[in-house]
Amino acid sequence: MRVRMLAAAAVAVLTVGGTAACGGSADDSGAVTLKLGFYAAAGDPADTTMRELVKEFTAANPSIKVELEVAPYVKFFERLRTQIAGGQAPQVWLSDGVLVQEFAARGALADLTDRVKTVNADDYSGIELNRDAKGRIYGFPQGAQTPVLFYNKKLFADAKVAEPTADWTYDDLAAAAKKLTTDTNGDGKPDTYGFRAYSPGFTESWWPIIKAFGGDIVTDGNRKVVVDSQQSKAALDWMLGAMGKDGFAPDYATTEGLGKGVVHTLFATGRVAMSYGIYARSLPATTAGVDFGVAPMPKGPAGRGNVAIVNSWVVNKTASAAQADAAWKWITFFSGEGPQRKWAELGEAIPINKKVASTALPADRHAFLDSLDAATDLGVNAVWSEYTEALSKRINEALSGATPVDTALTAGQKDAQEVIDRFYAGQTQ
């Protein structure tokens, strides 16, 4: 009797579990439930637009029911990791571009290489930036970010300095920045700096500068750290000069002292006349009423050092065939002209649909598109978060003046390489 009861209970548990597990698969009528995750702060216009697009999508595809999972960025990815562990992750989610390979290398994502072949790759930006060392693609672009040079037109006019051009070099940038640095209240500290050189977000700081000076960060399929070079040293020395003897950029302590995230508002609040910024920085500047222009980043000895991040849709490897199909349908829907145009209105990212990008962006913002075309990826690999953090710590030590540049670069290269080697040691993928 007892054994029979236990068996019945086990069957009941398995039945409930099985039903739950199959909850998102297609039923007999062909209907499928798709859990879709994306990150947005509460009340963010991006949240509203995404919900509107989901409504449009489900109206056009009545057999697909979409359940949304939204959370602010940090919370979203923190929860996602535990959801994956518990088999409860969305079937399709928006990934920060730099995290795609982290999830893919751990077997969490479906390989989209064959599906990507079904679209005309020439119509979209950033597909190649998602290709891993073995040529596989695990994410399809949702929106692109690439840094260009933002400049405040009013501050340039007030200081009677000519606006940046595509021919600018780092010397031109420094010369203009010095003229734009002003101390209006006479306390010995500039109230307006010409340029913002240091940022904790290295995409808009030391990464492109090192590349422009001829250095590099990682090579060989992003598995070999090569940052310890004379070119990198020259780049960091240029930054230290800007924040030190030349005095046209706020130093490390001043920038960090502003608090988390405030560094990104330095340009919007007029504290700096020029700053490297990704497309998303347009929004706070526009909201603050800053009359600004964008120009290509200046030329260094080895070019402009353009880099890009392509935030991407990824599909959960555990999604059923019907869910994966529905997820791909959503991805192609979102990449279409209508949704891309609607998303572009937010001013949050460069549309990845090239046709939309060429018309949605005003002519004087096309520096973003040129930069995107010339960009390389941000050294993404399976341990991007960890190795870039190890490297950043060392480089920031140098930029704060706590450690000589040479020492910091040598230590940073060693620390970052250790992280990469630990992961890839003995791996075949």
Partner: protein, 316 residues
Amino acid sequence: MTVLTGRAGKAGKAGKTAADRRPSARKRLAGERAWAIGFASPYLLHLVALAAWPLLASLWFSMTDYDLVSSPKFIGFDNFVRMFNDGLFWRTLGNTAYFAVLFVPTQTALALGLAIALNQRLRGMALFRAAYFVPVVSSWVVVAYVADAVFNPQTGLANQVLDFFGLPAENWLQDPALVIPTLAAVAVWKGVGYMMVLFLAGLQAIPEERYEAAKIDGASAWNRFRYITLPGISGTTFLVLVLTSIETLQSFEQVFVMTDGGPHGASELTVLHLYRQGFQFFQMGYASAIAWVLFVLVLALTLVQFRLQRRWVHYA
């Protein structure tokens, strides 16, 4: 037991007595045990499901390579070997120890001082006690904003005070040499109210007659404090030291909100390091190993404190 068995044997022959009809002591005990287990079972279930099981799982994970996505792979003690060779782990442990050395004695001494100052029968004293307790119930996010108002290098009150005295401004949270002392100061400000309440309770438990007798004998204020108050609250002091030490080794929220471990790792405490490994870098196995080492450290420290308390704690 033999007596009971003997009686039962006799009763078997002569028929049942009233005493035999009562449940035997053994049966009564068994019944009481069943009731006890019944009443304790919700807690036991909670203990097993939400404490013991996760603890054992974490111990297992500490001996695996577990990235949260694929199945854990058993790797023996590799995570522990890696940890002992991980310079960053030792650095975070050093940061934590430095934080503890500054925080524990400062908070304990200040809490005791405040408790003595506020252990008076004066009007409005409850208001002062409440004022010191307010930071305790505030979240770290709120405290971080308050701390920024004080320690912001450009606009903060601390640098304005330095400027008033003609001293140079400091980068309180951006200077590797100053960040831990500044964090310790903020932590003391936030936590001192709670420990002050514990000391107040301890002070109020000391019989007034002891002070009266000492006064009659001509003892000075210092001697009354040294020979009556301090021994009288030694139990509370011990509790405060144990709680504060454990709290320090588990510190996370404050650095996560205020510095994120910066500048360049100077304030990265061990639990923040653990969090990063587990939840940012997909290394739950390694994070579990750090958690267990931290657990052993907390346990060892607490045991040492328990051992030492025999020499100086008096329970009156």
